[in-house]
Symmetry: C2
Subunit: 229 residues, 2 copies
């Protein structure tokens, strides 16, 4: 439903995450495309540039000309994902007047099943979403987080939490924890997804719909409001 509204959009990712823009060449796009499939297949720990080189029939050293290391590659990929989601969020909620409806719609965008977006043919958004669920935390749970944060590596995610926080504040200006609630929802939506897949006894959610219902109830009852379901 999000597709084809605007053609030729490019998701802008912090330039420091790459040495050479992977969107600028065929090899770059192949690195991203098969990097996504390799990481989602074998997990970030076992993923190496050497293996990726082998898969795309290209040389390890060529990949290093695009990305400094696999950590930065992960930050590139997940930033792209959040940039893509942010784009959807803005597009979907922008025209909505009623602040409560807007907030509800935002939660929907965050929880609805990810679908392939044909605007970006070299990126498998469904596989990338799995990477975000399983690996995103690893991009910031490091000793370098403060330096990398200063360098702007997490800007898109932060902006997204900021937007969600603003929407919460717009609905209920008196609520004191809009930022915390926004970050809880962002992280919680990933975490609950992971639990559905691996620890179903720790969650009541069974699909995207019930996850949406749960988070909507969480947010709106925190704001002392009923939902509009």
């Amino acid at each position: 439903m999000m597709k084809h509204i605007i053609k030729n959009v490019k998701i802008a990712v912090n330039e420091k995450t790459y040495v050479k823009d992977p969107e600028s060449s065929d090899l770059g796009k192949r690195i991203v495309e098969h990097g996504i499939s390799l990481i989602s297949e074998m997990g970030f720990e076992k993923f190496t540039f050497r293996k990726l080189g082998t898969r795309i029939g290209s040389n390890e050293s060529s990949i290093y000309r695009y990305f400094e290391n696999k950590h930065k590659f992960l930050i590139y990929l997940t930033s792209w994902y959040w940039g893509w989601k942010e784009y959807q969020l803005v597009l979907t909620t922008n025209s909505i007047q009623d602040e409560a409806v807007k907030l509800e719609k935002a939660l929907e965008v965050l929880t609805e099943p990810v679908e392939e977006d044909s605007s970006f043919s070299h990126i498998d958004e469904v596989a990338l979403y799995q990477i975000v669920i399983n690996e995103y935390s690893k991009s910031f749970l490091t000793k370098e987080v403060d330096r990398e944060n200063k360098e702007g590596y997490f800007e898109i995610y932060k902006r997204m939490v900021g937007r969600l926080g603003e929407m919460i504040r717009a609905v209920q200006p008196g609520y004191a924890y809009a930022g915390s609630l926004a970050s809880t929802v962002m992280e919680g939506s990933l975490y609950q997804h992971f639990l559905m897949d691996h620890f179903p006894s720790l969650t009541d959610c069974t699909d995207d719909r019930s996850l949406f219902d749960y988070l909507r109830h969480l947010v709106f009852s925190s704001l002392n409001l009923e939902t509009h379901g």
Copy 2:
């Protein structure tokens, strides 16, 4: 305040996480003690058994006689932490009759500042808490999570989420997302702590007290109840 109520308690950790029980010898305890300080200093990625051996003036190969690898070592440490927290949780809430007060107390245990527990002299609980905040997710965000879950590596954490879920259900049996809310609170308390330390713009919490207030409000408003603050 939790100290010395019962002497000689041993926190029981799944035996599969170690080759030889580190509590059973002096070397084992030194491995745990300095393992905690090394991981909290340099982070889990840069931590190696070789470095730990050097620090304790012992041989790398001797450490391998206690733990198969550093992943299992992390699971051992974090399981110990959750076991210790569970013990506090049960001890603190057990005698409380009023279910709402009990739940509130549980949230307090989860969010209150961690203090050294002299019952376990070789374990620095404050440093271990930092490890849980920064590294716990890495113990389950792996491709081996399902197998390890089957082998019971995450039992204590799951039991703890289960207990919290039960407390929520006891307060409001009609609430449909007690498990999800419990897991959100468990993970959320760690995540918000991390944000306080590294991404203060993404949270409204500034200390343990405000984190407690936030989570209490989150839980009790989800249950359509006012808090007892």
